[in-house]
Symmetry: C2
Subunit: 208 residues, 2 copies
Amino acid sequence: MSTDLYDVIARRRDVRAEFSGETVDLGQLRRILQAAHEAPSVGHSQPWDFVLVFDEETRAEFADHVETERQTFAEQLEGERRETFEKIKVEGIRESGLGVVVTYDESRGGQHVLGRHAIADTGLYSTCLAIQNLWLAATAEGLGVGWVSFYREEFLADLVALPDGVRPVAWLCLGPVRHLQAVPDLVRHGWRKGRSLDEAIHLESWRG
Amino acid sequence: MSTDLYDVIARRRDVRAEFSGETVDLGQLRRILQAAHEAPSVGHSQPWDFVLVFDEETRAEFADHVETERQTFAEQLEGERRETFEKIKVEGIRESGLGVVVTYDESRGGQHVLGRHAIADTGLYSTCLAIQNLWLAATAEGLGVGWVSFYREEFLADLVALPDGVRPVAWLCLGPVRHLQAVPDLVRHGWRKGRSLDEAIHLESWRG
């Protein structure tokens, strides 16, 4: 399998249904977390942490909570949207064998974080850069990652005992997969088509 | 130059002083933006846009604003911190030849973005994933990227005429470099040492 950056970026998927149920190899996991940890961060604050949840009971508890939130969202939808959504699997928490809770600690780096005085969210942004490194490294290793965001932050913070001031940013399902889909799930299932790159590019100003 | 993912992750730097002043090749730029656009996004909302600022006058105006914010931050520091900070270059806006303003549009994807009902910030998170793809692709192409965050969001939004509801997430200096540093600037200049990966890993819960 190619580990060329562009190949990895193109192959990467947000995985729900394709986890094989095997457990991730610990050598691979170490390389993946190391890749995450090499991400850039504002003021070199490295504000991320990784809580590795292997425990089946904890994962089952989280999956139940996510199911409640899935229903909450479903109830906001009507007609075709509701029908389309109901066919979409939103998580693979039990099947993936491992949940990686990525967190953001706003106190990391002390009172004066270089580059954060004008924009408080830059610390959160750094944490997301680490997540993308993790995601690409897992893909390069032939594994799958699925970002679950149907949850309340307080619930997840309690579940893995985060201290005050540490915020959960993601629950990532991580594990071996049977294969990766060629087309993203939400496109395949008719939830939402992609936007062209040209629409996203503006020259000199938004009106350009 | 290797385009192996792990090599690219290790080589990537937050560039300030190493821009050569040459302009980025447009074929390379296209590949880099395409890589960003292939990032995952909540509900496949692809909420990012890229405003390409080549114009010298606009970049000079932004650089002047950033200098004011650099001073604001410097004035908050005392003693050794102040001295260490004053030696650190915080941007390469003029030298890089191109500023990429990456933005987040919260209205993209309509009222019901799949995966965002419980956590509003997930749209911002998606935008950051695109930034990391961009950063790695630029590194694979042998270019440098420097994220500038010494600015007020309102100033940058006005400068590139962002509509209401579209928020600037980053100004990225992008351009050819003479070389990339082996060690991150903030470590080299004694601002902040790195944290070990082991400190960032917790088993089953934060206390684990």
